[in-house]
């Protein structure tokens, strides 16, 4: 039932994007904005597998670039999130999915997302990237990713179990 998977991925990524740009960016949290979108992509990849993770990454990246006030190069986030979704889906063996490992994985993913996006933007000629801030942003983003991970991962796993139990990786 492919359309149920599409529905879950679409809804989860859209909600993540909306929450991130309307809520999390405005809380005035120091350092990076908590990257709920990447955490969601990771959670989908962990719950459904690498190919669904890649699809979620594509959807999330496209949405975050299209959603106002996004003004970065369209598609850069999509490429980065595809890689993140696909790799996390592959990397974590279904047999050792414990909460700490998944949290660590999410932290790595959110930190890596900052570095990869900045790197790609720079390579494509963006002059906005301030590399002096990148270490702080990557570290705080990884920290917030770790903190967000348990809730988001459990929520996505619950959604998948309800909607499309046949794809649930467990």
């Amino acid at each position: 039932m492919i359309w149920r998977q599409v529905l879950i991925i679409g809804t989860a990524t859209l909600l993540a994007v909306l929450i991130e740009v309307t809520l999390l960016t405005r809380l005035g949290i120091p350092g990076a904005t908590p990257d709920l979108v990447v955490v969601t992509v990771v959670a989908i990849a962990l719950a459904m597998g690498p190919i669904q993770g890649a699809a979620a990454g594509f959807a999330a990246g496209a949405l975050i670039d299209l959603a106002p006030p996004g003004d970065t190069l369209l598609g850069v986030n999509a490429v980065v999130y595809i890689a993140i979704g696909f790799i996390t889906g592959l990397a974590v063996d279904p047999r050792d999915r414990t909460i700490p490992i998944m949290m660590g994985m999410t932290g790595l993913a959110t930190g890596a997302a900052v570095l990869l996006t900045a790197g790609l933007d720079t390579m494509l000629g963006s002059e906005r990237v301030d590399w002096e801030q990148i270490p702080v942003l990557a570290l705080t983003s990884a920290l917030y990713g770790v903190l967000l991970a348990p809730g988001v991962i459990l929520l996505i796993a619950w959604m998948v179990r309800k909607a499309t139990p046949e794809v649930l990786v467990s």
Partner: protein
Amino acid sequence: MFSRRTRILLAVLVVASLTFVILDLRGGQGPFATGRTVVSNVLGGLERGAATVFSPITGAGSWWSSMRDQADQIDTLGAENEALRTELNILRNDKARAAALDGLLRVASVGQYRFVPAEVIAIGPAQDFSWTVTIDAGRNDGIEQDMSVINGAGLVGRILKTTADTSTVVLIVDQGSAVGGRVAGTEEIGIAAGTGSQDSLEFELLDPLADVRVGDAIVTFGSKSGRPYAPGLPVGEVVEVEGTSGQLTRVARVRPFADMSQLSILGVVTKPPREDPRDSVLPRSDNLSIVPSPAPLGGDDAAPTDEGSASPATTQVPEEETAAVPVESGNP
């Protein structure tokens, strides 16, 4: 490794993303830009809805961050306020000091006294009943015993004791103090003795027939070589006259010009003027019957400097230690 379907889907996704990148890099108008605008508009609408839903939370967030800012601001403003208040107090203090010095300079320049300025650093306790203060100038500054001490308003006292760097001043209101005085504008002399109260002196006239009125000013008569009191220093103003003319002694109550409760900058007269300045140093005031004149009458003036030693009255006046002296001289 992966199934054919997986590989195809992955490739499609990556190619689509890169196509976006390329199209976006190319820029300009076209179906891509239009499509992008449409999607952005839809997402924008959704965001507006989401923002409304989340507004209590974001409001709380901004409230929190503004609280944090306000706390910082309050701290900053508090510190600034403290600093400004300190500065204001210092300025006020400086202003008062400047005013005191100005007054002192006026007295000193009009009367041509040479003085050493000094600041009051200690005041004798009230329960000692001694009206004494300590100033921050001593022998090293050329101060010796029995020099006159003035401030901008008039005579304050005389030097009682000196140390290397400080001196003790006994104020004219001290009960042991007696100043040889003269009613300004006349030749009536007497002894202004301290009463122990800060705003009153008892001025006993040597001549019981003397005509003294309320409002008359008293200046120092002067002692030999200007010690303990240099001539011409304003002492106070007569506020009350007791006893009628012709009585054995006449006593006038005199309010000192210098406010003994607010002494800050004092001047120690190290060298009295060569000539008695007579009444020229008196404060400018409408209440006083004597209008100070910078150039007093020549005929009267020639004598006074030497008068200190010549006249029998003056030899007594400097020895103003007891009130007995004027009484005796008043008797005949």
